[in-house]
Amino acid sequence: MLTHPAGPPVISAQQLSKHYGDVKAVDGISFEVPAGESFGLLGPNGAGKSTTMRMIGGVSQRTSGRLTIMGLDPEDHGPEVRAHLGVVPQQDNLDEELKVRDNLIVYGRYFGLPMSYLRPKADELLEFAQLTDKAGAKVDALSGGMKRRLTIARSLINEPKILLLDEPTTGLDPQARHILWDRLFRLKESGVTLILTTHYMDEAEQLCDRLVVVDEGRIMAEGSPAQLIREHSTREVLELRFGSARNTTVADELQGIGERLEPLPDRVLIYARDGEAALEQVTSRGLKPITSLVRRSSLEDVFLRLTGRSLVE
């Protein structure tokens, strides 16, 4: 069903595992990413997404399995592979001892890029990150959102072909998120392969052509956002709130409505093709929820279905 573009994958992982002692951070995951795709790893904190990212960058040694990036093993060819990677780590690791613009230039020099290229490129990226007037500021004088934008700008200094984004918009305000999504979309249009981890549904739905749902180091499902919703959820969801004391007890009285019922501590979810029709059935049984909401299914529902847990606790 998947519409893979032809040609070899730029990232290929087979039975990739990383154990820390007894802890299986990544436990035998396999996936392939073709050039130009935007690929997401969706899962809660601790699912193994960041560890996978670190192995792709060749800065964490895998316990077992095979991994190639653009045809090379990042453990054997780390510097060459990373020359084409841009990395936005989950936690900003800007150089606090350098000024804002110097952060970009010095980082570019780590790639061996010449100053004649880096000077205009740094100014272009400061513009991109809306930090032009902070060029000479110290990093610790920046706000959290500014630091995030600088980290993202820094990851683009070498014009990467593959961009690894680990929770890129965590901590950003909605406006900044949308600006970033727009920039990522433009990068994707120019052919850059995006690999991103996120626990935000809307982010995954906006940005990912295809994603894997990861939990406890294993892949639970794989597909495009629409495909995953189609396979693992219904078209619509009816959310009912009866008050925290009654949500679970009322579930018995809701049996038979919709295709599936999911009682949660704070609400009851009814999965149905037609949410409004399901709501009519609820009220016809004499049940009066405090609030009701009909919405489209999202990846959150897929995750709940696959793992029995919410993504964001």
Binding site: A35, Q61, V106, R109, E159, G191
Partner: protein, 277 residues
């Protein structure tokens, strides 16, 4: 942002160069970063490092020296106590600076400042980082040694131009300690383990014939101290300070050349443990 990428852009040819996984021949970028960081934020720490051996020299050489008077120099002729301990203090300062830079500093930048995480996500390999950091440590050591030698000259403790060779010799001593220290750091996981380094360094500083000749010890202790690196550094600089060379000079220099070779080998073999956990 960039021109349209095609599928051909995504196929890499792997380099067959040895150490290609660990080294991209760009240690100079790490050095450039260190110089820029020093210039813009931590030059004050640099200056404070210079004063430590000078304070020792003034208090012990001049103060204690007033009680001690003259002692027998490396060539058998009497020299002032200050002139006796000054080269030893220079060797100690070379050791301390190099060990600090290659152990605590690396440990902190690795685990807390996350500086290396950023570097290692670029084309840099861990060997680039290690070479760059060691070079910076040696550059700093060379500056301190030059300053200390100038202070010795001002105090009238330098009697021969040969004594200027103490500066490059200090760098050799520092290189030995720095290359070894970085290898040792790869075994360290906690701050408590890092404290062991100080536990070794302090007695080595006090007992390596720094403040009095080795002959005060019984034979067995002498052998133990002669096996440790600082004693060779102290003796080497002491000989250079009065231009009195013996066959032992070659042994002292040779000790450090071996230490550098073994230290760099250890560090290279342990790079993945140090930087890529």
């Amino acid at each position: 942002m960039s021109a349209q990428l095609t599928r051909q852009d995504y196929a890499l040819d792997g380099s067959k160069r040895p150490l290609a996984a660990l080294y991209s021949r760009n240690a100079k970028a790490v050095v450039a970063r260190g110089l820029l960081a020093t210039r813009s934020s931590n030059w004050l720490i640099m200056v404070s490092g210079f004063f430590e051996p000078v304070l020792y020299l003034v208090s012990m050489g001049v103060g204690l020296g007033a009680l001690v008077g003259t002692v027998e120099g490396p060539d058998g002729r009497p020299i002032s106590y200050a002139a006796y301990i000054a080269p030893a203090l220079l060797a100690v300062s070379a050791m301390n600076g190099a060990v600090y830079d290659s152990t605590w500093n690396v440990f902190f930048k690795m685990n807390f400042a996350k500086l290396y995480q950023g570097m290692l996500y670029t084309s840099l390999g861990p060997l680039d980082v290690a070479i760059g950091e060691i070079f910076l440590a040696l550059l700093r050591g060379a500056l301190y040694a030059t300053g200390f030698t100038a202070v010795m000259a001002l105090m009238g403790l330098i009697t021969t131009p040969v004594a200027l060779l103490m500066v490059p010799a200090s760098v050799v001593i520092a290189f030995g300690f720095a290359s070894f220290g970085m290898g040792i750091t790869s075994f360290m996981k906690t701050f408590q383990q890092m404290e062991w380094i100080n536990f070794v360094m302090l007695p080595m500083f006090l007992f390596s014939a720094t403040f009095y000749p080795l002959s005060v010890y019984p034979q067995g202790i002498q052998w133990l101290i002669q096996a440790l690196p600082l004693w060779h550094g102290v003796e080497l600089l002491r000989q250079i300070s009065v231009a009195s060379f013996t066959p032992a000079t070659v042994l002292h220099v040779g000790y450090f050349l071996v230490m550098i070779a073994v230290g760099m080998l250890l560090t290279t073999l342990r790079l993945r443990k140090l930087f890529l956990r």
